[in-house]
Amino acid sequence: MSAVARAAEGGSARMSGAGAPGRLGGAKTVAVAFVDGVNAPLFLKRFDDEAEKDSLDLLLVIHSALDAIDELRTNRRRGSRKSYLGLLNLVDGYAVFGHASNSLVKTMVVLDAEACGYAVPDDAVMEAYLSSLYNAYVDTVSNPFLELGSALQLGNEGDEKGAAMNEESPEGVLIGPPGRKTARHPELLQGFEELVESLVHDVQTAPSNTA
């Protein structure tokens, strides 16, 4: 069985074992983003209904969250070495939660805070959610045929996002190394996208842990 299929069934040994995170208490996932160590975008997927719309508003929110991550990591106390960073940014009705590994691969989830009255889910739930996303990333990247350093997603949702993902953006909305390679094997990445989708879906629909 391919790693993707196995992980999707929850069989991968590295999936967070705490059981499906409970429902996000009404908050909906707007987007999931992965950013690598040099702050170049790896993956971005919108889950709200405006998938056709320009994603620049989201990119701005996520980009500002990157600053919050850098700040949190430099200022944290010696003792706390957790990868989970909690709520990074609350702006425009979006709440951004983040997770940064020691290799500075950042995983971020954008929730629609306004719709749920700013009652964002608690840290335990978000930590499990972000861990499962990060583990999916690790499983995908463990494939020896996948070239690291290329985007984990093709810019297939319209030219603007494609341009933003794959080239140096002129306005500096995204900072990234110039001439970023597009992935050489698109079919390997489809599995990753499906995996992320299934994780998001599970979180939205799983029964809440609190009785």
Binding site: M1, S2, A3, V4, S142, N143, P144, G191
Partner: protein
């Protein structure tokens, strides 16, 4: 539990272990590098088989030393030892031996779990790649050292959408104990 099963488990427990992910990633890096260097999938398959053969020639002594297994009376017994002792000791996986032919000279090893293939997905450019071909080479080399000439082939590959990876092992002939050319008297 059969005797070979018990033997396999006890040998596995006594041997030193390494991290499975390290092993999987190492093999993956090796195959990916071969693919990049050789670019021709058939050459990569042949190379993996050759590497496996070299490993098998050495691995058989390790197996015999650590397990203390005695002579096998038939190819069926050999297959049983290969799967329950050999694969158990070295890869901690016991393939099922199945699909025997009438004469008892051919069988299939069915792997429920193949540690070499964890987290691997084949790109479309490597559709003909036999990712676990090194195992075929290992079997061929190891059995050659105990005078059994076998041919092994991957007949079903989990990386290509089949449910399980399967290797077909066929005994071609028993290698006669021959002195080398230099020692022939005529």
């Amino acid at each position: 539990m059969s005797r070979n099963q018990r033997l396999g488990e006890s040998c596995y427990n006594d041997l030193e272990k390494i991290n499975a992910e390290l092993f999987t990633l190492t093999y993956g890096a090796l195959v990916a590098q071969l693919v990049r260097d050789m670019e021709d999938v058939d050459k990569v398959n042949a190379k993996l088989d050759e590497m496996g053969h070299n490993i098998g020639l050495r691995l058989i002594d390790e197996l015999l030393a650590k397990s203390g297994i005695a002579r096998c009376g038939s190819f069926r017994e050999t297959a049983d030892v290969v799967s329950k002792v050999g694969f158990k000791m070295f890869l901690n996986t016991v393939p099922n031996v199945d699909n025997w032919n009438e004469r008892g000279t051919e069988c299939t090893l069915v792997f429920d779990d193949n540690p070499l293939e964890d987290f691997v997905a084949l790109p479309s450019s490597c559709a003909g790649l036999k990712y676990s071909n090194v195992l075929c080479g290992v079997l061929r080399g190891a059995l050659e050292s105990v005078h059994l000439a076998v041919a092994c082939e991957i007949v079903s590959d989990a990386l290509k959408g089949d449910p399980k990876t399967e290797i077909r092992m066929s005994l071609k002939h028993v290698i006669e104990d021959e002195a080398g050319e230099d020692y022939r008297e005529d």
